[in-house]
Amino acid sequence: MAVRASLFFLFLLLCSLLAAALYEDQVGIADWHQKYIGKTKQAVFHTQKAGRKRVVVATEENVIASLDLRSGDIYWRHVLGKNDPVDQIGITLGKYVVTLSSEGSVLRAWNLPDGQMSWETSLEVLKPSKSLLYVPANAGVEKDNLILVYGGGCLHAISSVDGEVAWKKEFSLEGFNVQGISQPLGGSIIYIVGFTSNSQVVVNKVNAKTGELLNHNSVAYPRGLSGEALQVSSDLLVALDAARSSLVTINFQASDISFHHMAISNLVQKSFVTVSLLPLNVNGMFAAKVDSTVVIARVKDTGELKVTEKINDPSCVSDAILLTEGQEAFAMVQHADNRIHLSIRVNNDIATEILKESISVDPQRGHAQKIFINNYVRTDRSHGFRALIVMEDHSLLLVQQGAIVWSREDGLASIVDSTVSELPVEKVGVSVAKVEENLLEWLKGHMLKLKGTLMLASAEDVATIQGMRLKNSEKNKMTRDHNGFRKLVIVLTKAGKVLALHTGDGRIIWSVLLPSLRESDVCDSPIALNIYQWHVPHHHAMDENPSLLIVGKCGQSSDAPGVLSVVDSYTGKELNSIMLAHSIAQVIPLPFTDSNEQRLHLIIDRNSYGHLYPRTPDSINIFLREMSSIYWYSVDAEKSMIRGHALKGKCDLDSADEYCFSSKELWSIIFPSESEKIATIATRKMNEVVHTQAKVNVDHDVMYKYISKNMVFAATVSPKASGEIGSATPEEASLVAYLIDAVTGRILHRVTHQGAQGPIHAVVSENWVVYHYFNLRAHRYEMSVIEIYDQSRAVNKDVWKLILGKHNLTSPITSYSRPEVVVKTQTYFFTHSVKAVAVTATAKGITSKQVLIGTIGDQVLALDKRFLDPRRTLNPSQAEKEEGIIPLTDTLPIIPQSYSTHSHQVEGLRDIVTIPTKLESTTLVFSYGVDLFFTRIAPSRTYDSLTEDFSYALLLITIIALVAAIIVTWILSEKKELREKWR
């Protein structure tokens, strides 16, 4: 019996090693998922009736979310997608959030408590223009109020109950731009006031019930208007004139339009440079920002302006909220050395601050950029205020009673680039792990685990066990581990903030808002571009910190000067920053390091000059040695052109800059502009490792992989088919895939897919390319694979030549000799449309690959490369089957267990990054979009380690039982033998 039992155990043990998918309770052990919303554009607080503990926000990542005011958690969230930006947001009937998106063409109503969409109306838009949403403020629940939407030359009145369009009015006037919509109280009349391009002020009077045009009035303003205007009250508009030197008050409700004009210099009593109007929404008042001073002025009924308050250096001003009848409050934020000063004022007594708070804020959050306020009734029946502040780094803070109640790091929703840094090596003598907690705790934990194993645990216990596993300190240590699972993922966000996330649980280790990427006098509108590894110490890994290079530029244009910044990976301190004199078109990390182990970077500017960094004599010596074998390519998508370049010599510019090099054009490929347009370029990852150079065929024939780091995949589509799917007929559409050698410009392979169109997503690895596109004829998405093999090395197969040394295995490879290549291709249908494609990367490249596909459902699907093998045939022979070739099917299978995001969605997925670990079988996967998701996957299962929950005790018990069984049976057989002998 014992033998049987132990055999059974052994069998179970063997089986346990084959674990492939994940169990529900294992979720969250090796992975983490973080939800974000992005930089808040607009926020509306719930009205008193609908419960006041939530705020609805619309963000620049096109997310509409309802947040808990107590904790900042997301109640519900909708990601509208890249092509559907949210313009306006409002609350109607006290139970719907109304959003206007896509330049005023889509109006949606969402149910406030649960975020369900109640109705959606798409509106006709004649031409793109500013859109305006007008939700009547006195929206009674019982009354069917109309929502007014102006967008693209049309005014729509929409029922707020069901989204039905009540009436529609077109304004066909050329260049007409609506500045304000007003509906006087109890009004059956709507005033629509706007400017035309030739400075005419146009007022339309429309019947609110029918949309009938009652009156049309237009008067030209002789001095011209700048187009910037604010609606101050239901009958007044304040505008800037064309010279931006004076303010014009326009009264439009009277029978004839009257103007009142006042020079700004009179208003502020000094000269000024810039002026802009700030929306204040306080009845009869407005704010203007003159240089760095905010002027708050009151508009009298006669149209005269009176300055009530001047505030120096405020950061921002909030919209007004209604406190009591006729009393409105607004907030203002000022910033002074790491503290923000919040003050709230009311309209009828502007000089006194009814609330003044000063809050200390992390300097890495920058300045406050937007503020939204909400009031509540305090326990003593007075008015309390809470403020939602959007910071420069896109984070969101809720401030109440002088303290930050919660903060959300929403800059992480807009990651631009990411890289990875190793953690510090564990130093001897410095114990990071704490000593095990007291014995009782330890025993309790083990008892719980035992209960869990024996399935005696209650739901609560299971939760505790889960919590214990998640808390498991091992994975959250701040030191390098043996398997290389613990790292820092360093991300650069759109706001110019660099954050380091721990791979164990995704917590933020440090964050820094780069001073060089902040708006300043030298650099307005900075743009964060890329992040690279600058310095990775190997020789002095114990006492030197690695550092990162962050590349940005000042301004949108291609000749904007670049900014470089070097940041310490462990502390986040900015070590150095340079404002470059040249632009940045391309950054090439070179495979060389100088004596300080700083990586050499070649920055190519717009005029194709190369600039070497770091600027040290040592680096230039190394660089000059290798200069003749440095090539790069540039892509000009507008001209459909790819060019190859090499370095020529020192710059021929006037300045004697020895780190500047001129280049020459070596080759060019010009795609005929009438038939092809560049859609996608993909290259191999520079740090990819290839383990096997050859592939053994079924018939024991060897195929040598064409492994060149210079291979570029380019795909072009016909210009007609470059739009949306369905915009072209199958006859017009075609897709051409190219494999190009980037050193010589040689086209290695070129193949046309008739009737196919983009969007194209491609991934290149080893000697293969996988690309995804839409097939118009089959009405399905397809994935094609190209594998490329080098025939010129095929002579090496001769054993005799190998023995006699007549092979070319050791000869250096040059791109200038033309190897004969053969190509194998295959195409499969694929069900999903795709947002991103990546491939797994392992330390030595031995483990088989998986293609990671970011699906339209914002999940990451791991698809074995075996399914994309071009050698798949309908009836694989026995030998082929043994090799693992899967019979050919027309569609790639989607196995639900192979979603590496399991049940999570990485909303707004943009990119998937794979990071090799020290353990060969395992890859770390970091996918980001609006959300972040991190996990580790093992494409061929963890063949080189036991799983974390491997039960060593069970193994021990099995061994002991086996030994005992052997002894017992031995004794028994001895006894039996003795009996036999005595018989």
């Binding site: 070596l666 080759w667 895939a737 086209i747 046309t752 295959q826 009836n875 019979p887 027309d890």
Partner: protein
């Protein structure tokens, strides 16, 4: 424990279902029927093999045979080849001649491309020698549109040291779409070794080869996709799955059965004395017989 057991069961199920799936798939797709009238159904992908790209024109130009002589509406054109030595400007170096053949569908295409090189002048020879010494680039260019040369040129370069053999052996691989040249890959006819030794040609003249490559059509998605569609359209003309052997079909039942039988037989042989008399060969009692020996084993 239970997890492992369930895992085991799941794996077994998965493997069975997978193997069944694979069988089904391969079984359905095994038609060797020749669909001759696929054009009639308008199914794409079943076009006749385009032999042209399989045999690229690859002969030294002057001796080329003329397979396209039958084409009636072809037009001779020519365009210049220009070259540059290192950083020097471009100067004419030769002429490409080609014929434009109009197809009945689509635009005109280039055929019969050949190049005639101008002889190198003394100055050019010196410049070339300088290139060889400095291991610099020899660059050529041709107009992107051969009919109406515009400002755009297709450029290609090679390290000059790759060219010299007996003569200067060069090869032009020209990728063209209609009358547009997409890319030119210019290089030596043979391999170029590295490191590049300094070597001067015996004869200062070019020996040129040209190779014209036109677009290649992607093979359509697995050809059987169409067959499947045809099958779905109702004309399931006896495309039967091939017969599997009895063993291949029922092995998963046969093996446990065999094990049970073997177990029974061994047990029965060990304990002939315990055989009860009342067991006849009916189905229902057989199961009892199977269980019997287990009970006996426990008793022992």
């Amino acid at each position: 424990m239970s997890r492992r057991r369930s895992l085991l069961a799941f794996l077994l199920l998965l493997s069975i279902s997978l193997s069944l799936f694979c069988w089904n798939a391969s079984a359905d797709f095994q038609s060797d029927e020749l669909l001759q009238d696929d054009e009639e159904f308008g199914l794409e992908g079943a076009r006749s093999p385009d032999l042209e790209h399989l045999n690229p024109i690859r002969t030294p130009i002057r001796r080329r045979s003329d397979p396209d002589s039958s084409s009636s509406d072809s037009k001779a054109i020519q365009f210049t080849l220009e070259h540059a030595f290192g950083d020097s400007g471009f100067s004419p170096a030769g002429t490409f001649t080609a014929r434009l053949k109009s197809r009945n569908h689509g635009g005109p295409t280039l055929t019969k491309l050949r190049v005639s090189r101008n002889t190198l002048t003394h100055a050019e020879k010196e410049a070339f020698e300088k290139l060889l010494k400095e291991d610099d680039f020899y660059t050529i260019r041709v107009p992107s549109n051969v009919l109406s040369p515009g400002p755009d040129y297709i450029v290609s370069s090679i390290k000059a040291r790759c060219l010299p053999r007996e003569t200067l052996d060069e090869q032009f691989v020209i990728h063209a779409v209609g009358v547009n040249i997409l890319a030119v890959n210019y290089g030596s006819a043979g391999p170029c070794q590295y490191p590049r030794p300094l070597k001067f040609p015996a004869k200062w003249s070019f020996n040129s080869y040209t190779l014209l490559k036109t677009s290649e059509e992607a093979p359509r998605t697995p050809a059987f996709a169409e067959e499947l569609l045809a099958g779905e359209n109702g004309e399931d003309e006896g495309v039967k799955p091939p017969e599997k052997s009895f063993w291949a079909k029922y092995w998963m039942y046969l093996i446990p059965l065999g094990l049970i039988v073997m177990n029974t037989v061994t047990q029965a042989m060990n304990m002939p004395e315990e055989q009860a008399g009342g067991q006849s060969g009916t189905q229902a009692q057989q199961t009892v017989a199977q269980r019997g020996p287990n009970a006996a084993a426990r008793r022992r």
